[in-house]
Symmetry: C2
Subunit: 254 residues, 2 copies
DNA sequence: CGGCCGCTGTGACGATTCTCACAAAAAGAT
DNA sequence: ATCTTTTTGTGAGAATCGTCACAGCGGCCG
């Protein structure tokens, strides 16, 4: 148990070092005790940039806790068209449970930045959930939020054209990877235009034109390849963001 | 408890009467005992066509079990643009938990057909989850499936144009509301073109033209306003449906 | 240093999709 | 049955968006 406590301390330090507490971090949902129980079940794994935690179609049944690094969750199609579900960071959980016939991953998890991962077997987790009701309840709260994140994306990605989809994605990135600076909110996550396109469901060229358009209007700026949001409210207008009580930061994220 | 047992019997009968066991029905996930425990917490409610179980923005914190009827889950925007998340039927669960600051419904639940609903307070459910680990585990399995349903829609709605989105939606409707007939799969759920449009993120006119196009190609037929799918495989091609092991019926649904 | 490769930027064109306008048909209401 | 309302159908033009082609730029490696 001493081990677990140390790990918790570590994670708190990590959270402090991060520019902002942005994650859908399990820590928002679990108490330290609860998290410590989960941590006892983990075995560590290192994953290099470019590698995959798992592929779409692989057998599911593990939970991955991201201690550091970034991981992109992606659905692929034949034709080479991809859709990026999300990009996860320190403190996030990635999992698909084992259940019945369909215990297969429905997306792949590509490591974008070298990652340290804590891996838990679903079977072990199941026992934890079984024994500790408080843990299960919190876990479900977290799942419910994740579900709402997905659902809220539908409106943003489908209803206000590609500019709306991009604006929404920028806002979500600001909430998830944003760092407040003098000039505006700097998005610490650097993506290529193609990666943007895959998050939005559009083409690279459209992303390029839209970003340059926003830059010309002074809504964003780009320095060293990183996007700085100067006028968040303008972005909100583009995607018809509901006034903020209706859309909490927990949900408006990547 | 006798009451609960009777209710379980009732539900089994109801499932038998339904043309096909299509639901994301909680019964696929819960044993009879488990379901009975949930049922003990329910109080009954009738809801008329046109009424709402709740509105976007209302306080959350209840779970609704649909004994009969149909309920549309919808996200609205200013400008009157809507997006329909799903249309639920007998055996489905609708809920958003109470948690922290954001315990507010993120969609509204409109009753499409007179419904009988079992209502459970989240606080009561929490106690159940707390006490019965097996129940919690099953519940989480169900939640995980619901999450995958959402995620799989992203690919379908965003990557293959509006025809792809429509084709996917038809297939999902076939899996959820389909009845096998001599001519093909008949979709028992009748929707207006506007309602289709809201499921897909397109305009009524586009839906109209696309449906007529499919009819001319002999892929679907329409009788008494109900759609019959004659050539499911053609629809699959349009939305680049992954070969079926990759996309189980549990997930390919509305 | 030169060459290679991946990312960014841009124009032109065509396909897709939305919007508006209005007519016809069907479903409900009195 | 007649009137009203909702739904379906269709055309035309505009706006959006994707595709292709290719140029420049920058980093990386030998």
């Amino acid at each position: 148990m001493g081990d677990a406590v140390m790990a918790v301390a570590m994670k708190n330090k990590a959270a402090g070092e991060r520019q902002q507490d942005n994650g859908l971090g399990i820590h928002r949902f679990f108490s330290e005790d609860q998290f410590a129980r989960l941590e006892e079940l983990m075995y560590p794994k290192r994953a290099e940039k470019g590698s995959y935690l798992f592929w779409e179609g692989d057998a599911a049944g593990k939970l991955y806790y991201l201690r550091s690094g970034k991981v992109k969750l992606r659905k692929s199609t034949d034709e080479g068209k991809d859709f990026t579900l999300s990009i996860m960071q320190t403190g996030d959980l990635i999992w698909e449970p084992e259940h019945g016939l369909s215990s297969v991953h429905t997306f792949s998890a590509e490591v974008l930045e070298d990652a340290e991962v804590g891996v838990v077997q679903w079977k072990d987790l199941e026992i934890l959930l079984y024994r500790y009701g408080d843990f299960a309840v919190r876990f479900m709260n977290w799942m419910a939020i994740a579900q709402r994140v997905s659902e809220s994306k539908f409106r943003d990605l489908l209803l206000f054209g590609k500019p709306g989809a991009l604006a929404s994605t920028l806002i979500r990135m600001a909430n998830t990877y944003g760092v407040a600076t003098a000039e505006g909110i700097k998005i610490s996550l650097k993506l290529t235009h193609t990666e943007f396109a895959d998050l939005i469901g559009t083409s690279r060229e459209s992303v390029n034109r839209m970003l340059n358009g926003l830059k010309e209007e002074g809504i964003i700026d780009i320095r060293q390849g990183r996007i700085i949001i100067m006028e968040l409210n303008k972005l909100r207008e583009i995607c018809h963001c509901p006034t903020c009580p209706g859309c909490p930061k927990e949900i408006c994220r990547l």
